[in-house]
Amino acid sequence: MLRSSQPLTGPNRKRCREDEMLLGTVLDEGERGFIIDTRSAQAAKQARMTGGGTEPKSSYPHWRRLHRPLERGRPLQESFIKLVEACNDASITMDRWLSRLESCRWLSHVKAALSTACLAAQCMDREEASVLVHGAEGTDTTLLVTALAQVILDPSCRTLVGFQGLLEREWIEAGHPFHLRCARSAYSHARLKQEAPLFLLFLDCVWQLSRQFPFSLEFSECLLLTLFDNAYASAYGTFLCNNEKERCLCKVKESTHSLWAWLNQPGERKRYLNPLYSHNALVIWPSVEPQSIQLWQGLFFRWIRPSQHLDEAWAEIQRLAESN
């Protein structure tokens, strides 16, 4: 699986021999690959006007391009804000609640992200084909797809340590601009142009996987919530800045502590483990039917409703799993 940003085809359909060669070397003799473009075909075409574009079939004959538009940027942030507003509305009726849940489209985005990640995984696991994923910049929906696909495909990404490695690789080092994307969250009126909850969407999708495969992730919901918190505000340097270059310039590694170091301490670690974990060596294929996708109550209602009974249930599960 590869990721990149969009090719700079431009209005004049420029070609780049080196790029074509590079993608050519990925495939063996006679092999086909898939390009999953996270923009709609129309948006990708329009991108040509501003210097971007897609890989023309004639120049990349062994690659089949699939468009799977995933929401990003302002519209995704608006979706998040509308959802949180609906969750906090204490006087809402049932009809209005369902209506707002539908119109904010957050769960639709979850479904689309999972579907696209599964498609990428299917190409690799079922068709044994290589996959190139990109959107426009390669820093948002691209990473969402590649990271999720790896959780689906690779059991080592589902361990506590492996998941941290996945985050380091596919989000942090890959250059997801955390500083811009996770600035103010849903309550702020600032409406910053660069803000968008891609990382939250990823965590939500991982939570959906944990709900459908309760034994297959070594980490618990507690880890996902902690990651969400730290992406927005943290005592640790792990999610600071927008890319490795900025972290270098700011001397993040020299001046701050790593979140992973803290999480992995023997005393802390236990909180983030799933007591039901049982190593599952194979691919986990989620259902993306609407009935299978739920609103992540542990996150969206975290401060709104008391969790005492659910905490007690979780403690019971832990007790039972340990006594087994």
């Binding site: 049932m94 369902l98 209506s99 769960l107 495969f213 049982s278 986990i284 259902s287 993306v288 087994n324």
Partner: protein
Amino acid sequence: LFTLQVENVKLLDRYTNRKAANGTLYLTATHLIYVDASAEVRKETWILHHHIATVEKLPLTTAGYPLLIHCKNFHVAHFVIGQERDCHEVYTSLLKLSQPVKPEELYAFSYNPKMSKENREIGWKLIDLKVDYQRMGIPNDYWEITDVNKDYEVCNTYPPEIVVPRAANKAVVIGSSRFRSRGRIPVLSYLYKENNAAICRCSQPLSGFSARCLEDEQMLQAIREANPGSPFMYVVDTRPKLNAMANRAAGKGYENEDNYDNIRFKFIGIENIHVMRNSLQKLLEVCEMKSPSMSDFLTGLENSGWLRHIKAVMDAGVFLAKAVKDEKASVLVHCSDGWDRTAQVCSVASILLDPFYRTFKGFMVLIEKEWIAMGHKFSHRCGHLDGDPKEVSPVFTQFVECVWQLMQQFPCTFEFNERFLLEIHDHVYSCQFGNFLGTCHKEREDVKIFEKTHSLWPFLLQKKQELRNPLYRGFTAYKELQPNTLPFSFQFWCGMYNRFDKGMHPKQCVLDHLLSCVSQKVKLEDNASELENKLPCLDGPLPSEACSLSKVGSAASKTPMLNTPQDYEGEPPPVLSNGASAGDVDAVSDVDQKHKENLSRHRDLHDLNDTVDVLDSEAKDGKPQHH
């Protein structure tokens, strides 16, 4: 012994279409059985005739003659039959078999497990409502169990023994019965011992615009005075105000606060049986949608109004519980006839207030009391016999769902799990046991239910191990429940309304794993108390087979359900290297194909040997993982 056998029948579901295997359809006197012997593991699907709600012939397709069966427990079976004559024969047979006309045709009268006469009779005595009243402290200074209705002279849809205030003498009872729709006088449902507040239930008064009845006013006064701690009592009409007012024109209506001393009257608008029937219909249409978008689903769910109605019932139960516990005031509840919404609301309130009703025994008592004894018209509401379709309504289903919603919020407070609820729900419609036949106690006596049929409860108690809640923290851990009733607290119950769409549910079953962790410990505890309920081996079809659960051959029951990718395409599937479409089953390898078929195989829920189900896609050698 089969009355009909048809070859070349396919069973389709939302995941398999063209490549479904050919199987054989059998019709017996009681069941439809579909057998698919094409794979290495034999797969059986059983449908009880009584569970069938509708059978439709669909337009002819290239694959054959389709028959669509909708069941009352929401199982939808889509068969395609090779020959038209066979299809028609199955169709007409099912129409006849699924719509019995006379009560004697119901399964309960022919169901004959190998059991001694004594044990059968003991089964009927398992639940004794008098014991529950004793538990509440009745009889006491204020309340008594009266036999004034022993010959059904007061009310023929009430049980022979009812609980009324001691202060209400026979004249008051008789007088009040003439002022209440169908003679359904105010009687006690639940007494909150801690403060003497009571939940009582009745039907609407025959007040019209201005009629009064001294005895009815005295009856309410007696109820109020049976709770000296409170200066007033609530009278709650669970109908929308408009409906109640419209009833006045027909000489019925609701209590006038001016005529009754110290009552506070309140409407809690829960819609009527027709609205609920239509709501469920719309919900099921949403559940049946093939590959809906999230938008389609949520919009459909909203348009059905179903969760809005569930919330309305829950809100009413919460109001009653709060009035009793916090305000220490008694509450008298009614709707029109006091056997639908009233039953729902009183049951929910009891569960909220009293942990006993959250145990196996207590829940059975609650159903026997508030639903069976108090005359909920199961036969009509569940369409047991060929009757008026306008009488059919999912009133009991809504109550069961309220319990499930409470289980989601309070996972440690119920002794039983979701499967217990589903089993009860199945048997309300199965007519295999006598408990839910007919419409009231008198009718059951007349038809000799207690002599000729079996009770459901011993049968369920026998399966306690699978039906228990592994997270139950015990009787004393929680007292009153205060559920969150904001809209987001109500979830869509996939396990009920899409129960048989196995691909939609979590692929790994935590419940079974936890049950196996618990089972060793409780086995010893249960043996002691269950000895009396223990039933010998049963002959004939196992009661479990009466449900629309697939029976899996013994070899298959050990194999966990395999996990394969569904169709993830929202748009037309891409063209793959071999020219076929990604979503096309033909393009998939043989190994994948076998596992796609296995995906639709149902698990045998009664096999306790399953511990952890680890669901993976197939490895190259097709071996699933076990734990």
